[in-house]
Symmetry: D3
Subunit: 177 residues, 6 copies
């Protein structure tokens, strides 16, 4: 049995993520999906809680026919030091054989520890990114085409569009943590 790791913040999960996860699943048996920066929410760049993101990811994967038998979905808070982040992932996740990532830092940290890392073929990254989804929501542009139907439903239910727009207005009264 071969298990792969996939890390994302999923703020929110978009069609690029879903496509990538499906391709990864075609190569391995089980995928460990880490919801990174799990402690963050209610910031413009990180609007959704870990719980909300868990629901979105599960719904999005269900929508395309991926069963929860095929993946672990694990929220992990930021490590206090980059240098211990891989160890933290190892302690929150079941053992995995390979890391799928396009992020230079994630790749670097795993490679320095001689772990196997492989690039993820993504759809057009400019369009399909959390940054783009949040920007379109803020600017009142069409964002719904970027995310799965079931994710639109969750965002609507939790009034996510309002939240993102209000968060963009704050001048950080709660500190910049």
């Amino acid at each position: 049995m071969k298990r792969g790791l996939f890390v994302g913040r999923f703020q929110p999960i978009h069609k690029g993520h879903v496509e990538a996860l499906k391709r990864v699943l075609s190569e391995i048996d089980e995928i460990v999906i880490v919801i990174g920066s799990a402690q963050r929410s209610h910031e413009f760049r990180d609007p959704f809680t870990a719980g909300e993101r868990l629901m979105m990811v599960r719904a999005a994967l269900h929508e395309v026919g991926v069963s929860p038998f095929d993946y672990y979905l694990i929220p992990v808070p930021d490590a206090p030091m980059h240098a211990v982040w891989v160890a933290e992932i190892d302690s929150y996740a079941p053992p995995f054989d390979i890391v799928y990532s396009n992020d230079p830092l994630t790749c670097r940290l795993f490679k320095e520890l001689h772990r196997r890392v492989q690039a993820v073929p993504l759809l057009d990254r400019t369009a399909y990114s959390g940054t783009e989804v949040r920007r379109r929501i803020l600017d009142g542009e069409e964002w719904r085409e970027l995310v799965p139907m079931s994710v639109i439903r969750v965002i609507d239910e939790i009034h996510g569009v309002d939240r993102i727009r209000e968060l963009a207005l704050t001048d950080t009264p709660l500190g910049r943590a």
Copy 2:
């Protein structure tokens, strides 16, 4: 759809947990299983990592025919203050209607916030407890009857018996954190 919360440290998951989870699932549609003190491991009282406990819980539920469609399995680290623990759970978990717990503190914290709490009917609590499992492992007594087959397999694979016995010998060289 009705969703319930069930919190445990699962160090390790035992037959009492499994029975309780099955009973809870007979009353509600979906259960959010929180693996508490997720950051702890390699202590005599908390020997297993969150990742190891995730594997054990999933395997144990699979063994008795509970599908991952019916539950969320979410590791959550300890809150820095008891007074914010419920809020932390709310941010890591999907919304839930009811809390199943026999622990006085868990019950109290949720009740003070006017959340619905219900006792869990457990098997004989003296025998079926993580404390008892760890004690028997340490003392070389028969512990395998207390946990599901699939959990025995995981514990054996990760040399869990050795780990528990060695942890019992330390005089806390890494601080008492």
Copy 3:
């Protein structure tokens, strides 16, 4: 008895704050004033310690005839997660019925928990803001007209002008925390 909550960083307290607090007090019996980001000081954006800010707020309110019988003054450090910030406030403060705030994030966090939130009528916000006070101090412009007399006295006593100017020069040798 009706109690209201008012959150600010008070870096430093200015005439806009004082006016707002007086208006709030005309509507309720007691006000809980939270000095937010209490752990921060010695940064250009957060120059003063919680203790210095406590002194300034008390002096400023005394100057306009508000008695300490009418308010609680409570320093609260930043929460580790936005999602638990309301719970942290609840644990540091006596119970309150209503939140007075113009900050979108503060309003949002309380509203998501179905707490009563009301806007604060402020004087001209461009002039009366901590940001403007610090900017004028840095640029050597007239800042004294923006803050109460008693606050000027505290800032002078603790050499606050020098501190702000020196903090503006640092290239963050202590990290960017």
Copy 4:
């Protein structure tokens, strides 16, 4: 003007504290009362939140005629290192000339930094202690004679007796923090 520091956990404030604070106030002009371990609550040894303790201390002092003009009441969370605790107090409190304490560690930490420390004359310490109040509450003995009337009222209002008894029953489901 002479200012003194008085540190306590006030779990809860009792008649010994009140008497001590009155004696201290007869020697100095203003007292800075620190509510220590502010982040702790809902533990048997630390049942009450900082907000609850603030209310109790203020009510108890009001009951004996001490005005809020004469004291600052400041919740301060535990420092991450004993060696920085005095610096943390200095940053949360206005400047003070003298420390009133009978606790050997508090005295030691301030003395090592050459700060003036003075013992507090207390009533019979065996009876008048938070430990004794909590023990009597747990054992169903007469505890009301140990605390001021107004504190009894707060404890009753927040169902403090129930809370203490329930906390004594937990086997620490939330970790041992």
Copy 5:
């Protein structure tokens, strides 16, 4: 060049440590000495600061002719999770080939990551331990024979005996951190 790791709390360094370090140095070229729990001090079990322990270790090694060319001396604070402790050590220390330790937990954590671990031959562990030194100091027994001359001098200079005795009297006013 072969480098070894040696971890201790050194509260305080005693003759058993010195002997062990000399034996280790006879087998390898350079030793990385980690002063663990660096953030702790002013507790009965951890009385000395990292800075004081650095001075003691350096003085003790100088006394027996070990040159600072032959070792690194590195204070490292406790990790927030046992599972990341090895990664934290790796980030604070230069690379090392082998770990010298008799502590079951230290050995276990390194072994689980397939690192080379070797037992340290120590003098009689009952007598030569930090616990025994602190106990004798507290009970007024002869403790000076257990530590090097130069360490006695540092302890005397910083009034270490008084500190340990006073810390034993506290009932933890600063929380139990």
Copy 6:
């Protein structure tokens, strides 16, 4: 004996640092070199771990004939509050008489506590700075002339150039901690 303190992040140590340290050592007997922000690494602005920086500083000083007898080299993580940073330094370092620094914040924090502070005469600060070294590495310009030979060797050994260039590409997948 006179001891001085010198704080730097040493990302990486460059010829300006080395020259400054030599000048300081000509005025005092022993220097305490603090490697600040010790917990940071694998960020573009803080690429190297504390352990790597320890090796570089030791090698650079050895190269110019400074013996480890003449200095302490101490990694110290960031304090949680600027207001306790001096206390943290005091607990990690042996006692020192004077602070050598050109950083306005470091100077301010020590001066507010009435500690002796003195400016460090540095070589041309524009060229000899960590910022400039990292910029040149990123832009493929000549950076080797800015750092000692032995530091070039360490950076080459740990593939430091690659690391800095990859870190510059990340869009912070691990949060912005």
